[in-house]
């Protein structure tokens, strides 16, 4: 067994990596003194993967929206009943979630790790889907779709993505629509499973006070597939740089309007640590422009245009990237106007270099804080794993990112022509 060890001495962290013959990757981050053991089994398969070419085939396959999420629900059912019950008997907490790009199965336990881990490894590899159970699941997922339709925070962010993107499936609800899930059948579910749940498209992470050798041995013993397969070809629609629309509005029962402003970014497909560098640069820029220590934030807060719900983030994936910022505001248009003015001023006068030294230090501190939580370590590893980097690679990027680079990223990303506003407000 070939195990790769990486030590981050300065931060008292270690990472152990191992690759199974099937191409499955496995990562262990030991956390001494922790009680929780947090394990995930994930596939690089999310709501945006609706059109693809199956390895070995020549023609494209198109499947209904929401199928990755539907499959996630179905996997918990096994031939001998629900796997949930078996985890529950061990007192552990299984869960799963589907994002745009991944489906993640996980559990958190404080005792009997081996038994729990066996359950996880086995149920994800053994789907048991019947026509009857597919029909029943449609009712449950319809309830879930309804619940999210009532959630203004969810709506305002998806409406923003719908404004930013014309064609890309990132604009669609992860669970699909009641109409699209109606078209899902047992056969399409198995087709998607066989395509995307091959170990070479998957990763396992374990974070907690565990023995990494035992974890890897358990993986070795339990993975059924021995050979790798060639990659899946994913097909995304031609998106282009332009917006779908500049403004989106939805009427819902909210006391204060909710808003998000987004920037669509088309500088796609950076590789390796370049991803981290770009990601960090955009996040530092967001802080510099409208973060809590910026002049603009103070101005907006003093005018009562934003409050402590204000937040911002940046997402960078292979086929799309965008930043978003927002929260509650009595006047979202006024927030946008002041932001546009600020961006124009920076374009004329340039960025202030000294700001970034401070923000970099702050950002690094907040990054260290994330390492307190087994959940957030695991989440970061999964997100970055499929991009070929690890969470700890950030630490090098923090120390090497330069002002010229940040300036370039500003010019690329903060383009007013590719900015949209989404608002949810009361009648």
């Amino acid at each position: 067994m070939k195990i790769e060890t990486i030590e981050y001495k300065k931060y008292d962290e270690m990472v152990y990596k191992y690759e199974h013959s099937s191409g499955l990757k496995c990562i262990v981050v030991p956390k001494r003194g922790y009680y929780k053991k947090y394990a995930t089994f994930s596939t690089q398969y999310g709501s945006v993967d609706n059109e693809f070419i199956i390895p070995g085939e020549k023609t494209k396959t198109k499947v209904p929206d929401g199928i990755a999420h539907f499959l996630e629900h179905k996997l918990f059912e096994q031939k001998d009943g629900s796997v949930m019950d078996k985890f529950a008997a061990l007192g552990s907490r299984p869960n799963a979630f589907t994002s745009f790009n991944q489906t993640v199965y996980l559990f958190s336990c404080t005792d009997m790790f081996k038994e729990n881990f066996d359950l996880l490894l086995n149920f994800v590899q053994n789907p048991y889907i019947t026509e009857e159970s597919v029909e029943k699941e449609k009712g449950i997922i319809a309830q879930e779709i309804n619940m999210y339709r009532d959630n203004p925070g969810w709506r305002v962010s998806f409406n923003l993505l719908d404004a930013l993107y014309k064609e890309h499936p990132v604009k669609l609800d992860i669970a699909g629509s009641i109409e699209s899930i109606g078209r899902i059948t047992k056969e399409t579910l198995y087709k998607c499973y066989d395509t995307f749940y091959h170990p070479s498209n998957m990763v396992i992470t374990v974070v907690g006070d565990v023995d990494y050798r035992q974890v890897f041995e358990q993986v070795e013993k339990n993975i059924k597939t021995a050979e790798k397969v060639s990659g899946i070809k994913r097909i995304y629609p031609e998106e282009g740089e332009g917006l779908n629309k500049k403004y989106s509005e939805q009427i819902m029962p909210v006391s204060t309007p909710l808003f998000y402003i987004g920037f669509k970014d088309s500088s796609l497909e950076p590789e390796g640590t370049e991803i981290l560098k770009y990601d960090l640069a955009v996040k530092l820029l967001l802080s510099a422009i409208i973060g809590k220590s910026s002049e603009l934030y103070t101005k907006l807060y003093d005018k009562g245009l934003i409050n402590s719900t204000f937040e911002m983030d940046f997402s960078l994936e292979k086929s799309y990237a965008y930043s978003m910022l927002g929260g509650e505001s009595i006047n979202p248009e006024a927030v946008m106007e002041l932001l546009v003015k600020e961006i124009k001023t920076i374009r004329d006068k340039g960025l202030e270099p000294s700001v970034f030294e401070r923000l970099r230090r702050a950002s690094k501190g907040r990054f260290l804080r994330q390492m307190n939580s087994v959940e957030s370590i695991s989440r970061s590893f999964i997100n970055l794993y499929f991009k070929g980097v690890t969470m700890f690679d950030y630490l090098n990027v923090y120390d090497t990112i330069g002002f010229d680079y940040i300036t370039d990223v500003f010019d690329k990303h903060f383009d007013i022509e590719r900015m949209a506003l989404s608002v949810v407000k009361n009648r």
């Binding site: 300065k10 931060y11 008292d12 030991p30 003194g33 922790y34 009680y35 929780k36 629900s82 949930m84 529950a88 008997a89 061990l90 007192g91 552990s92 907490r93 299984p94 958190s108 336990c109 404080t110 005792d111 009712g139 449950i140 309830q143 879930e144 309804n146 619940m147 339709r149 009532d150 959630n151 203004p152 819902m252 029962p253 006391s255 204060t256 909710l258 973060g291 809590k292 220590s293 910026s294 002049e295 934030y297 103070t298 807060y301 003093d302 009562g304 409050n307 402590s308 509650e328 401070r358 230090r361 702050a362 690094k364 501190g365 907040r366 260290l368 804080r369 390492m371 307190n372 939580s373």
Partner: protein, 430 residues
Amino acid sequence: MTNINTSGEKPDKISEINGIRIYNIKSDKFKTNTINIFFEDDLNINSVALNALFPSVLRRGCKGLPTIRDINLYLEELYGAVFDCGIVKKGERQIIQFYFEYVSDKYTSDGHRNFERAFEFLLNIIFNPHLQNGIFNEQYVEQEKNNLKMLVEGRTNDKVQYALDRCYELMCREEPFGLYEYGTARQIEGITARELYSHYKEKVLTLPADIFITGELSDTDTEFLIKRIRSIGRKGQKALSAAIVKSLPGKIKYYEDKMDINQAKLSLGFRTNITAKEDEYYALLVYNGILGGGMHSKLFQNVREKAGLAYYVFAGLEKFKGLMIIGSGIDIKEREHVKELILKELDEIQAGNITDYEFKATIKSLETGIQSLKDSQLQIVDFYLSQLTAGTHDTMEALLEKIKLVTKEEVIAVSKKIQLDTEYFLTANN
């Protein structure tokens, strides 16, 4: 890898000075340390909005750092330290929290002792606010009144939480517990800067307070801490009241709200007649777990999984006042059907129908829950603060041991004391 020292995530009491109890929870497995300062008051209609408002004005500026921007520049220089304040409701107590988290000295390399800087900052925020003409800055007060009003009015945005809170509030509308911990828009509107300032001054000098520090404290740190606390001129301590625990007043109450929504919420509020102080509390914890505390529970298994009638359904306890709530998200048409199924599960427990699987999985799940608290500094602190509020003295280990001793018979006995008080339904217009 270095060795990790922990004290089993238990607090050591360092000192008690002028009504301020100071605790240290040692642990070096975290990358950060935290300081929490809590001021505890009775939930009271006359002070609830004032108490909710003054921390958000304090957050705006202090001596030397008069604006939000100054504060955030300071936090960023301190390796991205995190500072916030807020309001917590525990039973009939309104607790004002000031929170600071900073990177441990061993991961910063400038040789400063960060504890001193952090603690000094928090004391400065609490005791030396930015003033104008001898009172709070009027502009800050007006802005924070607006923000607080928005928060209060925005409660309905999160329907899941709202349907639970609203049920409890309607159920206890004649008791302090029925007050929302952030007050009402009307109460907030009437507050003046002068009134708020004198209220604040009285409160920080007289309310009982607890300080929890997580992470390593050196002798020098402790000395500094005690000296600084002594220098605050506190004036005696307000005595707080115990929560009212009422039994069923008679008829079940029914309430309904309508909103523009797709999924209805049904909440059922119960009086358990048992608080955390009683011996039966441990059996109540197990009862609640069997009924609706996770995937193994009767409600989850039967109402959600078998009948497919709820997207979510669970039961939760309010241990300070002896209440229980069942929350569910359901189809609008299924109200009566779901209620019937839920109440049937309560009857099942009363009739003694508890399987070994349900019982054992509940105990195991409570164990996982308690052990997991130890991996979060905030949750460790919250656990011990709750012990103080409830007047109980269990460590996490002791709590776990007592839960493991609970028998099925005790659970059945507890189930007979639980009474439905209020039914609340949040449904669609038309």
